[in-house]
């Protein structure tokens, strides 16, 4: 290996180590509770997917800013996606909903307001209809 290659290879390794270290660290906010703590969720909500329908808990989803909330999504037919979106349509987080499994994700909302829920995985031609406006209410 020539000197220029060794230098380049060293630079590549440095970039790889730095980017991986940063993105796995608590500098990415959700890594604090997804990766670096084993905190028990303050609340848990079950969401069921079936026949292009997203079924939220009958009492709705109300949470407080800063509390750790767990979403448990299940599907009775095909693969869907559980995605939470702000009112400006930007994504907060999402996960796949694989049939035959309890798909879990914990989250802490940092801003009060209403959030929409949308299926983020294609499940058939009616997939774009799978949208619930103001599905989650986050209070201060």
């Amino acid at each position: 290996m020539e000197r220029s290659e060794r230098l380049w290879f060293g630079l590549l390794i440095l970039v790889a180590v730095v980017v991986n270290a940063i993105t796995l660290s608590p500098m990415v906010p959700w890594q604090k509770w997804l990766l670096w703590s084993r905190q028990t969720p303050d609340r848990s909500f079950n969401i069921e997917f079936e026949d292009y329908q997203i079924k939220l808990p009958p009492q709705g989803i109300q949470v407080k800013v800063g509390e750790l909330v767990e979403f448990v999504a299940t599907s009775k037919d095909v693969t869907y996606g559980f995605g939470v979106f702000r009112k400006d349509s930007t994504m907060v987080f999402q996960m796949q909903v694989v049939p035959g499994y309890e798909n879990r994700i914990a989250w802490k909302f940092d801003t009060p307001g209403s959030y929409d829920v949308r299926s983020t995985e294609y499940s058939g031609p009616r997939h774009p209809e799978m949208f619930i406006e103001d599905a989650i209410q986050v209070s201060p």
Binding site: W8, W30, Q96
Partner: protein, 545 residues
């Protein structure tokens, strides 16, 4: 009219059909971009097309969109890219090894079967409205309340034809490399040992078997090493997708015979792992290796200098096989039920292995050009540099999304499909295949590319169009726009969609400039000679004489 040899003619035929598939795939892409921008834009055209579809009721715009979205990547990847790769390799492998293709009869068979397979899959979408998308997530392809049964069966048959054909093609390639007519013939196991780098590793550890043939391929051009190495991925991909297609076919035929099988008998997560492991052998396997191989071949030829760091490059080729076999979990980072250790190791860390291997590959390629200065920027070299840019841009976007943390906001967004996948395919792979065509035409026909202006127009329209489309849609993805989702009007993504649609139209202009130039270079007579049977041409020549 120039005299074109048998193998050269078949290579040109593969290229012509590949370009026709690119045109079809590109047209679908433009139509879908328009429909995303203005959801009702295609209603008039679809009303006309519905008159030739054998369906009981008028399909919804969404059904038509998703069936087009299912056919689109099959036409683009297995039509355009594979046809061009097959044609190029059928010329280059025997050319570089200085011997003939081992089974010449398979060359026209591969040509016909690939067209039949791709068009069958396309027909399953266009006529049968099969809409499960290329991902085929279980059990969607066998959920006949949302996916048409006949469409599903026809698609599975078409996919099986493609995969069997790819296995035949790979067999012919390996057979040619390993055949005894090669002055340095290899047995299959010697070749496999070398492909996995075992012999090279033994040599590094000082345990070289000196009585063995040159197992680390030192006797073969580095391009052949890359082709052999990438073709291992190609075979694995074909076998895995063949099993998925067979499964879908079994369920389809059972449903057709009124004895439906239970989809829950197949574990959706295990299937998804198996499917992505095989599918990723293309996305993160043979595409990268074939690309690297073509750079290693073309760049030294175009700049007249030996490849820089060839020993490192051979080791990189070996390492990349292990990387591509362990990288598939980055497609399952959104699956919280996928074991975390798999997501972190396979999904994130092994993916960064590609950063290292492609980083070294690109360095060797650019260093070769730099050290050969001054170089003439021939059409092929321009497009090689364009393809390197495409792989850098698409690769950077891929590394950002292939991250257990960041994937939470990037998975299944337009970022993934536009800034990563389409930059890889259109700017990276597309420009590379154009470079190959620009380089091969003078080799195959002894004709020089006719218009430099049209080459430049092709280059800039394609480059600006593909980057504008990918960047605009990538930014829409970063703002939450999902792939595979039609948004009703008004939506906040309209400006991005408009730029995306304009970008795709710019690429179409570039493609037309390319076609005009290629036809102008070859001349209509030579183009017709590719499709007219040889005996007709001989009769015509006799009559003229």
């Amino acid at each position: 009219m120039v005299r074109i040899g048998w193998q050269e003619k078949w290579t040109l035929r593969y290229a012509v059909v590949g370009l026709l598939f690119l045109a079809l795939s590109g047209l679908e892409g433009i139509l879908m971009r328009l429909q995303l921008w203005v959801p009702e834009a295609l209603r008039g055209m679809e009303a006309v097309l519905n008159t030739i579809r054998p369906v009981a009721r008028e399909p919804s715009p969404a059904e038509l969109f998703y069936s087009m979205l299912t056919a689109h990547p099959i036409v683009g990847v297995y039509g355009f890219a594979y046809m061009c790769v097959m044609g190029a390799f059928y010329f280059l492998v025997p050319f570089l090894l200085k011997k003939e293709i081992r089974h010449k009869g398979l060359v026209p068979v591969n040509f016909a079967l690939q067209i039949i397979g791709v068009m069958t899959c396309w027909g399953a979408g266009f006529f049968g409205l099969f809409n499960s998308l290329y991902t085929l997530y279980w059990p969607l392809p066998v959920s006949y309340d949302r996916v048409p049964l006949m469409g599903s069966i026809v698609f599975a048959v078409g996919a099986a034809v493609i995969m069997v054909n790819i296995l035949l093609f790979s067999y012919n390639l390996f057979s040619t490399v390993l055949s005894k007519s090669n002055p340095q013939g290899y047995s299959f196991w010697q070749f496999l040992r070398a492909a996995f780098g075992i012999s090279r590793l033994m040599k590094l550890l000082g345990k070289e078997d000196k009585s063995a043939p040159p197992l680390d391929y030192d006797g073969l051009p580095v391009f052949i090493v890359a082709v052999g190495r990438g073709s291992i991925d190609t075979v694995i991909n074909a076998v895995v997708l063949l099993t998925a297609g067979a499964l879908i076919l079994i369920y389809g035929l059972a449903a057709l015979l009124q004895t439906p099988l239970d989809p829950s008998a197949v574990n959706a997560l295990v299937y998804k792992n198996w499917f992505w492991w095989g599918l990723d052998m293309v996305a993160d396997g043979n595409v990268l290796m074939y690309t690297a191989g073509v750079w290693y071949l073309l760049i030294p030829l175009l700049v007249g200098r030996k490849l820089f760091g060839e020993s490192v490059v051979r080791t990189v080729i070996m390492v990349d096989l292990l990387v591509s076999m362990g990288v598939w979990s980055h497609h399952l980072l959104g699956d919280r039920v996928q074991p975390f250790v798999m997501r972190l190791l396979s999904g994130q860390f092994v993916t960064w292995g590609e950063f290292l291997t492609m980083g070294l590959t690109i360095f060797a390629s650019l260093a070769t050009i730099w050290l050969a200065r001054p170089v003439k920027f021939s059409p092929a070299l321009k497009f090689v540099l364009g393809s390197i840019f495409g792989f850098i841009m698409g690769g950077a976007a891929g590394l950002i999304q292939a991250n257990v943390g960041l994937n939470l906001v990037f998975h299944n967004t337009q970022w993934v499909v536009a800034l990563h996948a389409h930059t890889f395919l259109l700017t990276g792979l597309g420009m590379l295949l154009f470079a190959v065509i620009y380089a091969l035409i003078p080799m195959l026909t002894k004709l020089e590319i006719r218009s430099q202006r049209l080459v430049n127009a092709h280059f800039w329209f394609w480059m600006v169009g593909s980057v504008a489309m990918a960047y605009a849609m990538g930014m829409a993805g970063a703002r939450g726009m999902l792939r595979r989702t039609i948004y009703p009007l008004p939506n906040p993504y309209q400006p991005f969609l408009a730029i995306g649609a304009i970008g795709s139209l710019l690429m179409a202009v570039g493609f037309v400039a390319f076609l005009v130039n290629i036809i102008g270079t070859l001349g209509w007579t030579n183009v017709f000679s590719l499709v007219v049977p040889e005996r007709w041409l001989s009769r015509g020549a006799e009559a003229a004489a």
